[in-house]
C-alpha cells in the first residue's frame, strides 16, 4: 500500500523556526489550530453580529451551543460555576471544532495528538487543584476521604482515591486522543479496501461497494463520536470543577 493508515497523523513543518535550540516550527498542526480558531470565531461572532430578539437560523445555532454549555455548567457545577463558564465554553468549542475539522477529507485532526490533548487536560487538572485548595483550603483533602467507609479500610481507599485523582489528566487526554486516532485509522483502513478491491478488475469494483458503504456509515459515526467526545471532555471538566467547589460528598 502506498499510504499507511497512520500517515494522516504525521506532523509536517510548513515554516521552520528555531528558538534557543528548540524546534518551534509552524506545522500543519499549528495551521489547523489557527483554522479551527478562525472558524469558531467566525461562527460565534458572525452569528451574533446582528443579534435580534427573534433569532435567525445562524443566531439560533450560536445560542444553541451557548445554552448547551451553559446548561451543562449549571447542572454539574451549580451557580458558582458561572465564573468559569467562558473557559469551559472555549474548551468545548475548540475541541468540537478541531474534531469536526478533522472530518474534512485531507485535513489534519489537531486532537489526534496526545501532546495537544495532554496540554489541555493538564491545564484543567492544575486549575481544578488550585481552585479546590483556594476555595476550601485544606478541606479540599476531604475529597480523598469518602464518608461511610469503615476505619480499617480507610488507608487503602484514600490511596486508591489519590491514585485515581492523579490519573485524571492522563485518562482525559488519552480518551480523546484514542477515540480520534481509532476512528480515523478505521476510516482509512476501509477506504484502503476500496482501492485494493477495485484494482482487481470488474468483480473487484462490484465488491468494493461494500467497503464504500461502510466508509459512508463510518463517517456518520465519526461525526457523532466527534461531538460526543467534545461533550465528554467538557462534562468531565465540569465534574472535576464540581469536586473542587463542593468536596467531601
Amino acid at each position: 500500500m502506498a499510504h499507511s493508515p497512520i500517515d494522516q497523523f504525521k506532523v509536517k513543518p510548513i515554516a521552520e523556526f528555531q528558538l534557543a535550540g528548540i524546534d518551534v516550527s509552524f506545522t500543519n498542526s499549528s495551521l489547523w489550530m489557527v483554522i479551527v480558531l478562525g472558524l469558531v470565531s467566525v461562527f460565534l461572532i458572525g452569528g451574533m453580529r446582528r443579534s435580534s430578539v427573534v433569532p435567525g437560523r445562524w443566531q439560533s445555532m450560536v445560542e444553541l451551543a451557548y445554552e448547551f454549555v451553559a446548561g451543562m455548567v449549571r447542572d454539574n457545577v451549580g451557580k458558582e460555576g458561572k465564573s468559569y463558564f467562558p473557559f469551559i465554553f472555549t474548551l468545548f468549542m475548540f475541541v468540537l471544532g478541531s474534531n469536526l475539522a478533522g472530518m474534512i477529507p485531507g485535513s489534519f485532526t489537531v486532537t489526534s495528538h496526545i501532546a495537544v490533548n495532554f496540554a489541555m487536560a493538564l491545564f484543567v487538572f492544575l486549575a481544578v487543584t488550585v481552585i479546590g485548595f483556594v476555595k476550601n483550603g485544606a478541606g479540599y483533602l476531604r475529597l480523598f476521604v469518602p464518608s461511610g467507609v469503615p476505619g480499617w479500610l480507610l488507608p487503602l481507599i484514600v490511596l486508591i482515591e489519590i491514585i485515581s485523582y492523579c490519573t485524571r489528566p492522563i485518562s482525559l487526554a488519552v480518551r480523546l486522543f484514542a477515540n480520534m486516532l481509532a476512528g480515523h485509522i478505521m476510516m482509512k483502513v476501509f477506504a484502503g479496501f476500496i482501492i485494493s478491491l477495485s484494482a482487481l478488475g470488474a468483480f473487484g469494483v462490484l465488491g468494493a461497494v461494500a467497503p464504500f458503504a461502510v466508509t459512508v456509515l463510518l463517517t456518520g459515526l465519526e461525526i457523532l463520536v466527534a461531538c460526543l467526545q467534545a461533550f465528554v471532555f467538557t462534562i468531565l471538566t465540569c465534574i472535576y470543577l464540581n469536586d473542587a467547589m463542593h468536596p467531601g460528598h
Binding site: 497512520i6 447542572d75 485518562s171 488519552v174 480518551r175 486522543f177 484514542a178 477515540n179 486516532l181 481509532a182 460526543l228 467526545q229 461533550f231 465528554v232 462534562i235 468531565l236
Partner: protein, 74 residues
Amino acid sequence: MELEAAKMIGAGIATLALAGIGIGLGNIFGSYLSGALRNPSAAPKQFTNLLIAFALTEATGLFALVIAFLILFT
C-alpha cells in the same frame, strides 16, 4: 520466536480487552433500556449519564488499542 511474529501475536492478544468492553457496553445500554421501559418519564434525565458511562467504558477499550499500536509501531 522472531521478534516481529511475537509483536503481531502480542498486538492480537491486546485486543482481547474488547471482550470486557462488549460486556460493559451491553450492560450499560441494557440497564438503561430496562430502566427506561419501566419508568419512561425518568429516562430523558438519565441520557446524559448514559453518554458519560458509554464514553468512559469505550475509552477503556481504546486504551487497549493504544497498547496494541505501541506494540506494533514502536
